[in-house]
Symmetry: C2
Subunit: 351 residues, 2 copies
Amino acid sequence: MSHHDIALIGFGGVNRALAEIIHSRGERLAADIGCTLRVVAITDLRFGSLMQSGGIDLAAVLSMTGDQSFAGMPGGDSEPKNEHVIRHTTADIVVEATFTNPIDGEPAVSHVRAALESGKSVTTTNKGPVALAGRELSALAEAHRVRFEYEGSVMSGTPVLRLAAETLKGLQISSIQGILNGTSNFVLGRMEAGASLDAAVAEAQALGYAEADPTADVEGSDVQLKVVILANEILGAGITTADVSRTGISGITEHDVAAAAADGERWKLVGSIARDESGSVTASVQPLALGAEHPLAGISGATNAVAFTTDLLGTVTISGPGAGRMETAYALLSDIIAIDAHQTALAGVAR
Amino acid sequence: MSHHDIALIGFGGVNRALAEIIHSRGERLAADIGCTLRVVAITDLRFGSLMQSGGIDLAAVLSMTGDQSFAGMPGGDSEPKNEHVIRHTTADIVVEATFTNPIDGEPAVSHVRAALESGKSVTTTNKGPVALAGRELSALAEAHRVRFEYEGSVMSGTPVLRLAAETLKGLQISSIQGILNGTSNFVLGRMEAGASLDAAVAEAQALGYAEADPTADVEGSDVQLKVVILANEILGAGITTADVSRTGISGITEHDVAAAAADGERWKLVGSIARDESGSVTASVQPLALGAEHPLAGISGATNAVAFTTDLLGTVTISGPGAGRMETAYALLSDIIAIDAHQTALAGVAR
């Protein structure tokens, strides 16, 4: 059985959830995934930095409160020295879960770059590094013979990139349509039940789906980044956000929703990518009124979904959660499993 | 790049479709799937048997008409000597696509057994060998260090077994619900549009969805076999059809359908499998009236779907075609890709 030492960059909800999974499942997890995992480094804005090459006591750090710090612990520091830890940790896998701004993807891009440059594989669920610097970072990973994995950047733990690349291998995918933002889908559902756009957004905020500033959800820029990732990863499009036309749902009225319902249709905010016969790819984000037979029409609440149109198999659709703490931690775990499988295969070839 | 020689047992719609894919795609297919494929044996009730270790001219055999025979061709015979060909072909992969009776799975079970015993990997989309003799045949494959793959036995080319085993690795699946028979789902949809059960079944037959005898579709025995496969493969249940309670849709009336619609619900024929905390598994096939929020409620027409309830990720649902000539041939191709990946990994370890 193989083994991986893990560095957690950022110790907010998602990386805490991953630490909980590793801590609470122990041997059962190893049996399930075929490798053992140990956390040897953590950085966090509140707690600082901690490097312990023999393994960090996860029960202890998971019980820390906001007024505590890693300072004074062996290998501890009161500062979150992200890049220092990334470069000097004994971990072979870096889990990047800090934050990312939608303009340049920082600081996540720099964290990923530092990890790959120092010969560590990386998993992240941050859209920024993938959508904005994916090509550079993937090339860097290849040059250093490590992996850069980011399954969770599109639909959290619901598999979509690996589904397309592995489970649907051998199919030609000609187009992709997705409901890629749970907040806007929830809002449109509440409008079907009679709520106004503003009331539905307020409800999504109260339930924790929407951010304090719901613009990225409602105006489609969150979906736009995910469309870039899907187009580049699955269709090899090489596009940027500037290539994705974007219309959000703020122009959809209660009247529009009611009129669609009368025709048996449902408004959905759909990210679409299509490759034509010449190979050129067009991509968009826009509200569409979908008939009941459309594979995305039945996707309700905060659920996300992606429908692939293929040559041999027609349309295949996967749906599931697109957010959530444990759900996103599972995306990281699935990336770690993929990194392990790849390294095990490489070791076999090298032997 | 690796290479596989293929024997096609049965040359009806599905294996012909696989031959068409291999013939028409050639180098593009090899680039897509990472291995080259060559057909070296074919058996068929009409044409007889053909073994040519240097590779069969697929264009020639695909253009044969029903009054022609393999007799007189080099390596040809007028009789479909299935077991002889399976045991003596130079192929390393046998594609079993004859037929299977739902009582003992023959002759498909014998074909699979003969192939595995003679050291060949097998792919089949026949439910019979998997549902009725899966444990024996999987053990036989392991003993002979070959693979027995059957992704298409549940939902044709729509991936479900490999999705659960690989793409969802690391998750604990506690329950599975599926719409696993396109004919009955189509029939229920037509009943929602006002048709009677009998008229809807006749329409399904006219469209080629339903068999001349639609009993297995309508009364749930087709779904029952698929439930056995899902329960044993994914939850390790070790059950037989006798353990799966079964109620078909023949008791559902137009009134039932209309009453459900008035409540915002849709009748679906659902195969269900659940594992309780003690580990024991219960399984059933029965019509259920599903509310609009249920992940299977929006599955329309002849589409199939499976919803997995998991510990970390909540419910993940995959939907797509559950039948069709090319769709089922893709299931065989996806099994060949999996066999290749496994053998490549083994070769790496042995090196």
